[in-house]
């Protein structure tokens, strides 16, 4: 077990290196000179001398690979430089400050996705073509076509403005997360109902279910223990991926509900051309993605008896 995890960890190293390289290279594609941008946003007139000294201080005159290695070394020490907008603010601090809100939002949504989609998915598969199933299908269809920012606006108007039940913006308490989490999770809920439903319908013809019925096992046990677990096995991968997608997808919702999260930080960085923050965002999301992948892989291998022995 431990060997397997270590081996898998080792395999992620090249991927992590590739992501760091992408994050570094992408920033060198920017159409404008970073030194000049840094000067402009601080309202210093970019004279030749000022640009030259800024280039020197940002280390832009070194060869490409040297810059990459230096940058990587800094990253390993969690030093992502300082924001272009405000030199006193370190990128790492900014990210650290906005990360909790995003993670909370993603986590709430993730729980919501599971709590809502699993029961509905199971019911609509077991009672295929019943009223439940038809309602679930209409729901699925509707929520794959609704843009989630519009849904957010509707929910905000209905619950926060019209009935004044919930706050419209901010992230100071749990209630602030209710509407954003619902908005964020809806698209995924419909995806998962569909996934679970299809996977269960596919597995329904399996011989082991027939034999379980032959053995006289009760229908509830058959559905939950034998059918659902096997269907979950095949949806596990998608589930793991969607946690990262939830984190990456929060930027829209954070902007609507004014949640000071990492997505909002990134969007405002894009408007301000604050490249170090964008770079750190790309790097962090990429790494998060790799780790989630790894985590899901390990869990999946552990849960599958066929693979467990090879661990």
């Amino acid at each position: 077990m431990r060997n397997y995890v270590l081996k898998r960890l080792l395999f992620t190293l090249p991927m992590m290196l590739a992501i760091s390289f992408i994050a570094f290279v992408i920033i060198s594609f920017i159409p404008s000179d970073p030194a000049e941008v840094a000067l402009r946003v601080n309202e210093i007139i970019p004279t030749h001398e000022a640009v030259a000294s800024m280039r020197e201080s940002l280390g832009l005159n070194d060869p490409f690979l040297v810059r990459y290695v230096n940058w990587l070394y800094d990253c390993l020490r969690l030093d992502f430089g300082s924001s272009y907008i405000n030199h006193n603010r370190l990128v790492f601090d900014e990210i650290l400050r906005s990360l909790p809100a995003t993670l909370k939002l993603a986590l709430f949504s993730f729980i919501l996705v599971i709590v809502v989609s699993f029961p509905i998915g199971i019911l609509s598969a077991v009672f295929k073509d019943s009223i439940t199933d038809k309602v679930a299908r209409v729901f699925m269809f509707l929520f794959t076509a609704i843009p989630n920012y519009w849904l957010g606006l509707i929910l905000m108007w209905f619950f926060a403005i019209h009935f004044n039940l919930l706050p419209t913006s901010g992230a100071t308490s749990f209630v602030h997360y209710i509407l954003p989490a619902i908005t964020l999770s809806m698209t995924y809920v419909s995806t998962y109902i569909r996934l679970i439903r299809n996977s269960m319908l596919e597995n329904m013809q399996e011989n082991y279910l027939f034999y379980a019925r032959v053995r006289g096992i009760s229908e509830v046990v058959i559905v939950l223990k034998h059918l659902f677990t096997n269907s979950l096995q095949s949806t596990m991968n998608a589930l793991g991926m969607s946690f990262v997608q939830l984190i990456a997808g929060t930027f829209v919702i954070e902007n609507i509900f004014a949640i000071p999260g990492i997505g909002r930080l990134c969007i405002s960085a894009i408007f301000n051309r604050d490249y170090p923050i964008i770079q750190a965002y790309i790097l962090m999301m990429g790494l998060l993605f790799v780790f989630c992948n790894l985590f899901i892989d390990i869990i999946q291998t552990y849960l599958d008896p066929k693979q467990r022995r090879s661990m």
Binding site: A145, W150, L153, I154, V252
Partner: protein, 273 residues
């Protein structure tokens, strides 16, 4: 085609889409006002014969903005799709038909690209290139083409061993002839289905970014951007957000229904999202 016609829902979806396209193409003919024309005296007007869907916070005709918005929302999404598929077909056909080292390299590259969450990639590209609709379209193409290249490569590889392709090779037909006469016509229908199913996603994606202010810039009409303006007056005039939202919903739903119907009709295997 007959089976498609027997599916009433698909017919409805198709006719909605055709109507929308015609309205978009001949937008000046269908609209009642200049979409940019402001009339502060009439701001937030209700529905009337002159303003069928009322006016917005600057007194602009919402109906006309919606009609002109088709060009920016739906047509730009279609442009994105055409470019994406164009690149996907070129890479996919080369990879699938010629195989070998090129294939191996391209597919590994696609793997790396596909293993990155698409939203982050879009933000990265827009972040580097700056705000603007052309960068959004570019970002969407960059993150999408790899997926199409993979799918198309798979399709081409499937046809590679069909007897008529083998026969054409044996009698010494040129690669260009085989690709244009045998492969492309065969994979064409599958590509159309893929594209139809994916259009909704692209429309939502582009309008989302416009909603955030990263895409189409005001005052030009785009459905996502219209919703962004509606958001600012959500407290006082919540009805502002209805028209563009419903428009997106209807168009995206129509594409989804049509895509599903086409897939069921042709029973294409492997086209599962």
């Amino acid at each position: 085609m007959k089976r498609l016609l027997s599916d009433k829902l698909a017919i409805l979806a198709l006719s909605i889409l055709v109507t929308v396209m015609i309205m978009g193409l001949f937008a000046p003919f269908f609209s009642l006002h200049d979409p940019l024309e402001q009339n502060i005296a009439f701001k937030f007007a209700g529905m009337s014969w002159e303003y069928p869907l009322g006016t917005d916070h600057l007194g602009r005709c919402i109906y006309s903005r919606l009609i002109f918005g088709i060009r920016n929302t739906v047509f730009l999404a279609m442009l994105t799709m055409v470019c994406t598929i164009g690149i996907g077909v070129v890479v996919g056909v080369i990879s699938g038909y010629y195989k070998g080292v090129v294939d191996e390299m391209m597919m590994r590259f696609c793997d790396v690209m596909l293993s990155f969450p698409s939203q982050v990639m879009i933000l990265a590209i827009v972040g580097v290139l700056g705000v603007g609709i052309e960068n959004i379209i570019l970002a969407n193409i960059v993150i999408k083409w790899t997926w199409y290249a993979r799918m198309i490569r798979g399709m081409v590889a499937g046809y590679n061993y069909k007897n008529y392709v083998l026969y054409a090779k044996t009698i010494g037909k040129s690669d260009r002839f085989i690709i244009s006469r045998h492969l492309l016509p065969n994979i064409f229908s599958e590509i159309i289905i893929l594209a139809t199913l994916d259009m909704g996603w692209v429309i939502i994606n582009i309008s989302t970014l416009s909603f955030l202010g990263l895409g189409i810039q005001p005052p030009f009409p785009e459905w996502g951007a219209m919703l962004s303006e509606a958001k600012n007056v959500l407290m006082s005039n919540p009805s502002q957000m209805m028209a563009p939202g419903v428009a997106i919903l209807v168009v995206v739903a129509s594409f989804n229904i049509l895509g599903d119907a086409l897939r069921d009709m042709l029973d294409v295997k492997g086209v599962v999202k």
